[in-house]
């Protein structure tokens, strides 16, 4: 290879174009720089240079088509061929030098110096050398260009030279001198009119044994048996079969060993399928191997020392290099700094605690178990129950008293296995040695396995809740005082006729009662003295109700077919009496005029009648004649409107009367079911209508149904609205009391069934959180009922007291109850003709 270089160099310089010169120079520079950095990029660099070459050829050398073709073929060849190609270039020498130091050492001196420089790294002298080479190239390039002699080509060349070469054209490197016309052109045998360059025989020079051998194995390293059935073993370069060498039979072999004195030094080359005579050199190697010596004959086992650095004259003046100290030696290390900062950060964050006292191991600990150590809590950790310590009876040598006597033994044996107190029979042995094996062992293990298998160990979460704690905590009645407990005052009616209704004056001073003898009486609430009465003489008084307006004193009472508006004028102060009279009488003047107009039209719902002067003087101020028997009166909170319910008046059962205008209207054209009770909402313009089973809430302004409450009762008897307006209670003839929370649902919030007979009346206290129910069983039940302003909290209902005292007469008990407006006192009326106040 070394011998070849001058020739190729010359070829290269003569054939390379001047155009490629600059680019070449640049590419070299680049290459060198790259080579010094990275050897691995070698093949890539080579590839790119070669490609540039291709373009070059296309552009310039039109005549050398054939060459081009060949070149094309070359590029398609394997890497090995390319290597051959590359080797031609002198730059590649350097590359090879880089890659193999051993080679560079054996090079010529001049080359060695350059190589050394290369080893040291990038060097200016190297660049100079390259430049000189490049100049050399430039000189040579011009000759072929002129020889081509085409004017167009010349123009091209000039153009190329005068303009700045494009950067993309770099690397028109030259690796092969094949195109440079070193060979002899001859006519191609295959293509008519084309030329093929024929080269001289070429001595490869790198002396591969196999390459010079005639019969080389061309099939590669494959099992030779594959060719057993074939006459040839592979193909030659020319595509001809390499025939299998003739192989003699066993007799030939034998004869050969007999005839040929050298046959014992032959060996079969399996690859070539023939006997090969071993050379003396080879035999010598074999012999040496037999003697366990170095197979190389020239190896001197006892070579004398070559003193390179020691010995006389080789002493080193300065044992250290004068190379400048590397920067890393005196610049603080960034990497170390980072590491230290990491630790500092960890200390600051507390992940690393400096001077932490070492964790002391306990001096004494259980070797075999970790029971004494704390366990990390785990759901499935279930420690086995502790076994009781063995007892004396379990001893192999128990005291005599533990042993069974006959009777005990018989008893023990008679018992069921599960019933036995001891599951074994205590026995006495003289020594532990005489104790027999435990005969129940297998059975016990089997049962234990069964236990484990049939009862997997899972944690059973047992709900350990005291049922008492689930019962809502109700405050004791003692904490909810005051509430009525005993009968304090009795309002005695002359004959014991049933008192159907009572009512307490809004100021809490008078009690009005209506009894079946047709008399409405007014009583002093405090001492039970009857102070006023109106004998209406119209049959039983069905209902009395004081007007809630405190500035007036109006009592509404109903008898069959009539509603009376009464006022105890003598009992009240003149101003109150005057207000009352004005309110009740103003409409008489206008109505007397308007009745004449009204009469021709349809029959009015009710007729407002002016009583006689005598009656008026006694306090009977207005009479309203209505259809049916109004059994219930309820006042609007402002005291101008009141409503009556007459069950037997068909579609005119509910009437709303206005006192100031003496007008009556029937709010419902047709009522669903028979209306039992009605009530005004305490704050809104709403109207509650209770039929036998349902309570309906109407909006009087919007004239629409707002809500229907499903009571679930068979027959509603009474109803009252909580003063807050969001709750109501209804009592029924089927012994139940229902509390509705209007915000909650249309079903009862609570249904209380404490009475044993039908409820007659239910009522809320206006100021205290109390409500009461009266029943035919002669009792009055007092309940505590707090309604919280917090909407999330349900009302609290606590039964407080059963008031007994009224007698049952004809199956009727307490008929009506009313609360005192400001005190926790209750007034009740009974079928036994008694009215009582309870305090």
């Amino acid at each position: 290879m070394k011998k070849q270089r001058p020739a190729t160099n010359a070829v290269a310089s003569s054939s390379s174009t001047s155009a490629s010169g600059l680019g070449k120079k640049r590419s070299r520079k680049q290459q060198v720089a790259e080579e010094s950095e990275e050897d691995d990029e070698l093949s890539g660099v080579v590839g790119s240079g070669k490609q540039v070459d291709n373009e070059q050829v296309d552009e310039i050398d039109l005549e050398e088509d054939e060459e081009d073709d060949e070149f094309e073929i070359d590029t398609g060849s394997s890497n090995g061929d390319l290597d051959d190609f590359v080797v031609a270039d002198e730059d590649e020498d350097d590359v090879e030098d880089d890659g193999d130091l051993a080679d560079s050492e054996s090079e010529e001196d001049s080359q060695a110096g350059l190589d050394l420089d290369d080893e040291e790294g990038y060097n200016s002298s190297d660049i100079d050398a390259l430049d000189s080479e490049a100049e050399e190239d430039e000189d040579g390039v011009l000759t072929p260009a002129t020889s081509l002699g085409s004017s167009s080509d010349l123009d091209k060349l000039i153009k190329k030279h005068t303009s700045k070469p494009s950067e993309s054209e770099w690397g028109t490197d030259k690796f092969s001198s094949a195109k440079e016309g070193s060979g002899r052109l001859r006519k191609s045998r295959f293509v008519e009119g084309s030329w093929v360059r024929e080269y001289e025989e070429f001595e490869a020079g790198y002396g591969s044994e196999s390459s010079t051998e005639e019969n080389t194995n061309t099939i590669g390293n494959i099992p030779i048996e594959w060719y057993d059935d074939l006459p040839h073993i592979g193909y030659s370069v020319d595509g001809k079969r390499i025939m299998r060498p003739a192989k003699g039979d066993e007799l030939d072999k034998f004869l050969a060993t007999v005839e040929d004195p050298d046959s014992w030094t032959t060996a079969e080359d399996k690859l070539l399928q023939k006997q090969v005579q071993l050379s003396d050199k080879e035999l010598d190697i074999i012999r040496r191997l037999e003697r366990a010596e170095n197979p190389d004959a020239g190896f001197d086992n006892y070579q004398s020392t070559i003193e390179w650095f020691t010995g006389k004259g080789n002493e080193m003046v300065m044992p250290l290099t004068n190379r400048p100290e590397p920067k890393s030696r005196f610049v603080p290390s960034k990497w170390e700094h980072k590491k230290v900062m990491k630790i500092v950060k960890a200390i600051r964050e507390g992940r690393i605690i400096p001077n932490r006292p070492p964790v002391e191991k306990p001096k004494v600990y259980a070797i075999w178990s970790k029971e004494d150590q704390e366990r990390t809590p785990h759901a499935m950790y279930m420690p086995a129950p502790q076994l009781p310590p063995p007892k004396t009876v379990e001893s192999y040598n128990p005291p005599e008293e533990y042993l069974f006597d006959e009777q005990e033994k018989a008893e023990w044996e008679a018992q069921e296995k599960e019933d036995r107190k001891l599951d074994f029979e205590p026995k006495k042995y003289a020594s532990l040695r005489t104790v027999p094996g435990y005969e129940g062992f297998v059975q016990e293990r089997f049962e234990r396995c069964l236990d484990l298998y049939l009862a997997p160990r899972t944690k059973k979460v047992k709900m350990n809740i005291d049922p008492e704690s689930l019962v809502p905590k109700l405050p004791s009645p003692k904490e909810l005082r005051p509430f009525p407990t005993t009968s304090a005052v009795q309002y005695r009616h002359p004959a014991s006729s049933r008192v159907r209704c009572v009512s307490v004056d809004p100021r809490g001073e008078w009690v009005a009662s209506g009894s079946e003898d047709g008399v409405v009486r007014v009583w002093d609430l405090g001492n039970g003295r009857e102070v006023w009465k109106w004998p209406l003489k119209m049959g039983a008084v069905q209902s009395v109700e004081w007007c809630p307006n405190r500035d007036e004193s109006v009592l509404a009472a109903t008898v069959s077919g009539r509603v009376y508006l009464l006022s105890p004028l003598a009992l009240v102060s003149p101003t109150v009496a005057q207000t009352t009279l004005t309110h009740l009488n103003t409409a008489f003047a206008s109505s007397s005029a308007s009745t004449a107009q009204n009469e021709p039209r349809k029959a009015p719902d009710a007729k407002w009648v002016r009583p006689t002067e005598d009656e008026r003087d006694r306090g009977i101020l207005v009479i309203v004649e209505v259809a049916g028997t109004p059994k219930h009166i309820t006042w609007h909170r402002k005291g101008d409107y009141f409503s009556t319910v007459a069950v037997d008046a068909a579609n005119k059962s509910v009437l709303v009367h206005q006192v100031s205008k003496h007008q009556t209207q029937s709010p419902f054209k047709r009522t669903k079911g028979s209306v039992q009770r009605v009530a005004f909402h305490p704050t809104k313009p709403h109207f509650f209508v209770a039929t036998q089973r349902y309570v309906r809430l109407y909006d009087l302004v919007g004239q629409q149904l707002l809500k229907t409450l499903m009571s679930g009762l068979k027959w509603i008897s009474s109803m009252d609205i909580h003063p807050g307006g969001d709750n109501l209670i209804i009592g029924s003839y089927d012994k139940k009391l229902c509390w509705f929370d209007l915000d909650l649902s249309s079903k009862p919030y609570k249904t209380l069934r404490y009475h044993t007979k039908a409820l007659r009346s239910v009522i809320y206290h206006r100021t205290y959180p109390l409500f009461a129910s009266a029943s035919d069983d002669g009792t009055i039940q007092i309940f505590h009922g707090t309604v919280y302003s917090d909407l999330m909290q349900n009302p609290l209902i606590v039964p407080l007291k059963v008031l007994r005292g009224h007698n049952i007469k004809d199956g009727l008990g307490v008929l009506d109850v009313k609360w005192h407006p400001t005190k926790p006192w209750l007034v009740s009326s009974g079928a036994d003709g008694e009215v009582r106040m309870w305090t």
Partner: protein, 505 residues
């Protein structure tokens, strides 16, 4: 106690000895204070004779013994077993008080309608007000024990110009023992009515001296003043200490102070306010209305003295209408009762249904003390104890409360449980411990505040046999009681005034 045998205390040697500490608040009866070991079987009599032995008085004094606010009724052993759980070792602190005799019924005075108020402040005469709308003065000398007695005792009847009834009555002139007594001045009597007015009657000064000798005792008695203020029925009236003013209270929550005619300031014979309308209807005069009211009332009660309405034309026309000198406002709701302070002139106490007891200064008209009890504890009446000035109120919810009047901040200091609502309470005129109550259950009770758990005596007034007044029920309700320390009178819904002799000291 007198009938019990004077058995020796140490009847049995096995008797348990109890440590007992005896003390009293009466300085004349003190014995050396020490703890005695007494047999547990001892009763009141043995204890009483023990103290008598120590004191050695001229005549033996019977004593009562109070343990833990309760009168000792049985033996000491029984008490310890029942109330102390058999704890025989701790010392019993026993207070002894001079024993009182139980009230003894002297007779009854049947009336024609409910007796709403009684007064015995003038010795020898019963003043009563009735729902028949009159006040009546009956001499105490002729008690009739039988209701069927036709011979009515001579009495002065002072009819009110209304048919609604009278609620309360009081003497408004000093009785002879009083320093302001003027023998020549007419005797004034007041009665409050349901008609919202207080009527003051004058009785000739010599009339009460020999009542029986007069053919018509009521002649010459007339209503001189009508006190107009209230818009509700009058609940109580009482004269001031010097009998120059009268205090009225009413359901409307107002207290009125009115001047009474005295020698220095005789009655001004003029109306200060206009008349109340007899009828609110045009063309109906007062008299016709009253006739109708009479018709109405006739169904309830038959008026025996039918001529009453016409018999006293002077009273019928009413007195001079007077307006109050001072109005005290503050109570919310009905005032149950009001009194003048018994020692401090110019101070007035009132108790209302709003549960408060208020002290007023009449001169300024200001409410000086407000003692607010529970709202629902409505007070029906009030009186003041003699010595301690503490106030006694009877309540609707079956208690009698004592209030300390000296401390303005304090509220109820003691509560006596009664069996029913107490519409009337009277303190003993001199004793600072005893008081009498009447209740709706018909019981008259004498209390010692040292024994607050139990009344000293409880007498149930036997309801009238031939009860024509009350429609239903037994009519046992008592409405009023008065007690002058010797005689106790009470009246109620059965229309009978009962007289008992009862000492409180």
């Amino acid at each position: 106690m007198d009938t019990s045998t004077a058995a020796t205390p140490a009847s049995s040697s096995t008797d348990i000895q109890l440590p007992i500490n005896l003390f009293t608040r009466n300085p004349s009866h003190t014995i050396p204070s020490s703890t005695y070991l007494l047999p547990s079987s001892w009763r009141r009599f043995q204890l009483s004779s023990l103290i008598n032995k120590v004191l050695n008085p001229n005549a033996p004094i019977p004593f009562d013994f109070i343990v833990d606010g309760e009168l000792l009724r049985g033996s000491l052993e029984a008490y310890v077993k029942n109330r102390r759980g058999g704890d025989m070792e701790s010392t019993l602190h026993v207070e002894y008080v001079e024993s009182l005799l139980p009230p003894k019924e002297q007779g009854t005075y049947p009336q024609d309608d409910w007796v709403s108020g009684v007064s015995i402040k003038r010795p020898g005469f019963i003043l009563l007000s009735s729902y028949l709308s009159h006040a009546k003065i009956i001499p105490l000398t002729h008690p009739t024990s039988t209701a069927s007695d036709d011979a009515q005792p001579p009495s002065i009847t002072l009819p009110l110009p209304t048919r609604l009834g009278s609620t309360c009555t009081s003497w408004l002139s000093p009785h002879p023992s009083h320093e302001a007594y003027d023998p020549s001045a007419p005797i004034l009597v007041g009665a409050g009515g349901v008609d919202r007015q207080t009527h003051i009657f004058s009785i000739p000064s010599d009339r009460l001296v020999d009542l029986a000798s007069h053919a018509d005792p009521s002649a010459g008695c007339k209503e001189i003043m009508t006190l107009h203020l209230h818009t509700g029925p009058v609940s109580s009236l009482s004269p001031s200490l010097d009998y120059s003013k009268v205090l009225t209270s009413s359901w409307d929550g107002l207290l009125g102070v009115f001047k009474l005619p005295t020698r220095e300031e005789p009655l001004e014979e003029r109306h200060e306010v206009g008349p109340e309308p007899g009828s609110y209807l045009t063309g109906v005069d007062r008299r016709s209305k009253k006739r109708r009211l009479n018709v109405k009332d006739a169904t309830a009660t038959e008026t025996p003295n039918g001529e009453q309405a016409n018999g006293l034309p002077a009273a019928n026309s009413g007195g001079y209408r007077k307006s109050p000198e001072m109005v005290l406002r503050g109570h919310n709701g009905r005032i149950g009762g009001s009194i003048w302070d018994k020692e401090q002139a110019g101070t007035v106490w009132s108790a209302g249904w709003d549960g408060s007891v208020r002290g007023w200064d009449v001169e300024s008209g200001g409410c000086e003390v407000v003692k607010q009890g529970p709202q629902e504890r409505a007070a029906l009446c009030i009186d003041q104890m003699a010595g301690t000035r503490s106030l006694v109120t009877g309540h609707m919810d079956r208690v009698v409360c004592l209030w300390d009047a000296r401390e303005s901040a304090s509220v109820i200091s003691l509560t006596l449980p009664t069996s029913a609502a107490t519409p009337s309470v009277t303190a003993h005129p001199t004793s600072s411990f005893t008081l009498a109550t009447a209740s709706y259950s018909g019981h008259l009770q004498i209390w010692d505040v040292r024994s607050p758990k139990q009344a000293l005596f409880s007498v149930k007034k036997q309801p009238r046999k031939d009860n024509k007044i009350v429609g239903g029920g037994t009519g046992e309700r008592l409405l009023s009681v008065d007690w002058d320390g010797e005689v106790m009178i009470a009246g109620g819904e059965d229309g009978e005034v009962g007289v008992w002799s009862a000492r409180g000291e």
